[in-house]
Structures are given as C-alpha cells and as structure tokens.
C-alpha cells in the first residue's frame, strides 16, 4: 500500500473541447491537511468533482489508497472512504439536523427495504447505532443542541458545520472540503480551523479547496496551486508564498478583480 492516500496521474478533463484540467499529477499524504488553491476558473472544483466521482475523467487516473477508482460511481467512492462537502452546503431541507447526519451513516449501515418495512430486529439494532453515531458527530461540530431543528433553519455558518458532520458520518478516510470558509465570520473561521485539526486527529486526511489565503496558509501542510487547468506550484506555505508564478497569477487576479 502506498503512503499516499490519493494520487492522480496525468488527470485531464475536457468539456466539449474546453480543457478544464490538463494532466494533473498530485499526491496527497495520509493523515495531513492539503489544500488546492487557484484563481476562479482554475479547475479546482472540477478536480474535486473528479476525485469524488461526479465527473468521469477524460484521461489519466485517480488512485485511492493505491486502487484505481476512475470508473467508480460517486456513491461507491463514498462507501470506500471518500467524503465531501459542497460550496453551498446542500443540506437536505426536508429533514432535521439529526436526520441529516443520520443519513450520512448510510454507507456504514446495511438494512434495506425489507428490514425497514417489517421493522425486523436488524433495523432496530442498526437504527440505534446510527443515531448514537450521528449525535457523536453533531457534538463534534458543536451542533448537539440543535439536533431537532429543521436543517435549513440554521444560520449559514452552522449549516456548513452540519454539512461537515454529515460528511464525517460516512466515516471517511479522505474528506474533501469545498470552500468551507466561504461566507463565515472571522470567529467562525477560527472555530473551523480547530475543527479541521480535530478531524485530522481522528486519522482522517483532509483536502480542501479554499479562497481564503490566511485560512489555507495557517492550516495546510501542503498546497497545490492550479491555474487554467494546470498545476503551477506545489509545496508548503512558505514555498508557495515565494513562488513567482503563484505571485504572478494572484497579482493578475487582484489587478483584474
């Protein structure tokens, strides 16, 4: 088994002639926090979607724990340990906070239509386990008090925490966080950093896409910079901050923006 939890080799994605990602090679080490940054349209979210299985790659390969997962559908990847959040929390609006997290336990439980329909003992057993686990994750992100509220009645910051709890409930090995800091207050961001560190302590690898530079620099041990679908730099915070191409890209963006 490889020491990398995730590797991509020559990963490309072309949308109708438009190259969104161009031969990306990257390695994500187990048990650490990595981040992908880059200006708008750099292909960060596309890369995320390829890893999570929303899109299938045009060419190249994705290895998860050394296993090729290119053609594996998204839900299968979730069950082998790839979890993710979305830019917009994408909570289940027709459920309570607790139910959202319980739903996250889906790949870690088994009972199906028949057991559910007739309330067989297996369903009781699993259901008890599911709700205990869910409460554990809610407490971890600090939403224990809100468990019976409607998910969408929470303020945005807490919705994002709930989305993380839901992803954690799938008991992942690799957690992909898509702009977890967007729309949060400074205080909330600090709490988020703490949470991410605690997640690492649980032995889960975290890979995030983030716009917020201070957040990324403070957290990530490895940073990968994308621009126009290409990887232009890779390294720790210090190395990245000094990299000329990165500076050029970001300066350009600031001038434009």
């Amino acid at each position: 088994m490889s020491e990398y939890i995730l590797q991509t080799k020559g990963l490309s994605k072309i949308f109708g002639g438009l190259v969104a990602l161009d031969k990306i090679d990257m390695e994500i080490e187990k048990g650490r926090i990595s981040a992908i940054i880059g200006p708008n349209g750099a292909g960060k979210t596309t890369l995320f979607n390829l890893i999570a299985g929303v899109y299938s790659a045009t060419s190249g390969e994705i290895l998860f724990q050394g296993m090729r997962v290119n053609s594996m559908p998204a839900h299968r990847r979730a069950s082998i340990g790839v979890a993710r959040t979305f830019q917009h929390a994408l909570l289940f609006g027709n459920m309570t906070v607790l139910e959202n997290v319980m739903t996250g336990q889906h790949p870690r439980s088994q009972y199906g239509f028949l057991e559910a329909a007739f309330r067989l003992p297996k369903s009781y057993r699993e259901e008890r386990k599911i709700s205990l686990e869910a409460i554990k994750y809610l407490n971890l992100v600090g939403l224990g008090m809100d468990k019976d509220k409607e998910a969408l009645s929470l303020p945005l910051g807490r919705q994002k925490l709930l989305a993380i709890a839901r992803a954690l409930a799938t008991e992942p090995k690799l957690l992909l966080l898509d702009e977890p800091g967007a729309g949060l207050t400074t205080l909330e961001k600090r709490a988020l950093s703490d949470l991410i560190r605690r997640i690492i302590d649980m032995g889960i690898t975290v890979l995030l896409v983030e716009h917020d530079m201070p957040l990324v620099m403070g957290l990530a041990e490895k940073i990968i910079v994308l621009d126009s679908g290409q990887k232009i730099a890779e390294g720790d915070a210090n190395q990245i901050q000094k990299d000329e191409r990165v500076i050029a890209v970001y300066l350009g963006e600031e001038v434009e923006g």
Binding site: F15, G16, L18, Y55
Partner: protein, 295 residues
C-alpha cells in the same frame, strides 16, 4: 406501398401533424416563459372551434368577424386563467401547477358542456370541400388552410420572438427570470403575454381545424395529449422544433397505418408515436446530461 399512396400518407400525416403542431406551439410558449405545462391548452383549441361554430352557425355572423371574436374571447380567457389561477398560486410546485391547469381544463369543459351541449358540430368550410390533386395525392382545401395557418403562425411567432422588443423580452424571461428582471423585464407581464399568445394560437388552430375534424366540448382532451406529446419531442424548447415534433408525430402515425405490418398498424399508431417520443427523450437525456456538466 405505391408512390401515390406514399404521397397520400405523407399529406394526410402532414395535415394531421399541423393540427398537433398548432396545439404544441401553445404548450411550448407557455412552458418556455413560465415553466408551466398548461394542460388547459387543449381547451383553448376547443374554445376556438366551438365559439366560431356558435358565432357562424347560431348567430349568423360572417366567417372573418366570427373568427376574430372567437380568438379575442379565448385570449381573454387565457389572460384570466393566468391572472386568477396561475399567478395567485405563488409557491406552487410543478405538480401543483399541473393540477391547477387540469382543474382549469375540467372547469372550462364543464362550462362549455353546460352551455353548448355535448354534440359534435362542424362549422362551414372556409372555401368549399372539393378535393385538390397534388402530385397524384388528394387534399382537402381545409387541410391546406390548416397547413397554411401552421406555417404562417410559426413564421409570425418566430419573427415576433426574434425581431421585436417584446419578443426579445419574452426570450430573455424564458432563459432566466432573474436575469430578465435585472434588465427591467417584469416576468409576470411576460407570463401573461405567453398565456395570451398561447390562447390566441390555440383558438386560431381550433377554428381552422374544426370544419375538417369537427369539434365538441371534449375534443381538448385528446388534442391536448397529442399536442403535449409533440411539444415533448421538441423538449418544449423552440416553436419551430415543436412544429417539427408535431408534424413528425402526424407523419409517423400516418405511415404506421400505411405499413400495416406487425405492430405498425392503425391499432397501435398512438403507441408508436409515444414510443418514438420515449426514444427521443432517452437519447436526449444523455445529451442533456453532458450539457449540464459543461456548465
């Protein structure tokens, strides 16, 4: 199948398809602007036919004024439907909106039956009923009127949508209500316009086809269904594709009768048209999925 026969099937199919197309146009324009599938579209067609019969045969009003009055009246009904039923239902889901329009159609149907009876009626032909010969195939003058009306309505609608301010506003509203609102287009006015246009097209269609295909209080059900299927083939996207969809369905049905072998017989012609729709939907679903992802 001889060449003459083939032409005859084709012409019958095109006539039939034009009828479906006129119904499909109404579905399309309302759907494009409001995302509502208006199941009362068939009733516009019915009203056009029944009212023109009433005015011509019972009140003895000449053809042209009768048609104008019938269309005007149906347009008002279209506006009322939007203002009273669709616009009031603000938070309604797609399914609720479908049911509302079904409620509207049941209401209109019941009303017409109450006042105009259950009998099928036939308004007089516009220009007689002596068949004309085209390349060895026979066609009735009223069928030419129907085909002609379909062409003219489609062209006018196309020009209206592409060449006028109002048309552009409608198209903008169809693409994104929010974006349209930002440039000062009131989506509610656009929706109202769409309903009125749909009612006008439906009733013109109804009035033109009635001499050929007869009309009664309940013709809207079947025509509505066929028009809906035709519009589905075009994905409710553009008027021209809907017209092509309608004519495709008409021709498929007609040729199925002509083949008269295996499942391709008159007994299954409706089913064949629907199977064609399903196949097109499934093929397009693959392509739609690709488009979505490219966004």
């Amino acid at each position: 199948m001889s060449v003459d026969q083939f032409l005859q099937y084709l012409i019958s199919g095109i006539t039939q398809g034009s009828i479906y197309a006129l119904v499909a146009l109404g579905f399309t324009i309302i759907y494009a602007v409001t995302r509502v599938i208006n199941f009362a579209q068939g009733e516009f067609v019915m009203l056009g036919g029944m009212l023109s019969f009433l005015l011509i045969s019972s009140f003895g009003i000449p053809l042209i004024p009768s048609l104008i009055l019938a269309v005007l009246f149906t347009a008002i009904i279209g506006a009322i439907i939007y203002l009273l039923a669709i616009r009031t239902a603000k938070k309604a889901s797609v399914v609720s909106l479908i049911i509302i329009t079904i409620g509207v159609s049941i209401f209109i149907r019941g009303f017409t039956r109450e006042f105009l009876g259950v009998d099928s009626v036939r308004p007089p032909f516009f220009t007689g009923d002596e068949s004309l010969t085209i390349f060895g195939a026979l066609i009735r003058p009223q069928a030419l009127w129907i085909i002609g009306t379909t062409i003219v309505v489609t062209i006018i609608l196309h020009l209206f949508l592409s060449r006028t301010m109002m048309g552009n506003a409608l198209k903008a509203s169809a693409i994104s209500t929010r974006a349209a609102a930002m440039v000062g287009i009131d989506s509610r006015v656009m929706a109202l316009t769409a309903f009125v246009i749909a009612a006008v097209i439906g009733s013109i269609g109804g009035a033109v086809m009635a001499p050929l295909v007869l009309t009664s209080y309940n013709v809207g059900v079947m025509l509505g269904l066929k028009g809906f299927v035709s519009a589905s083939i075009g994905g409710f996207k553009s008027p021209i594709i809907s017209v092509i969809g309608g004519i495709t369905i008409g021709v498929i049905e007609s040729l199925a009768v002509g083949i008269n072998w295996g499942p391709f017989t008159s007994s299954y012609k409706d089913a064949i048209a629907i199977v064609a729709l399903l196949i097109i939907l499934l093929i397009r679903s693959g392509r739609l999925a690709l488009e979505e992802r490219a966004d």
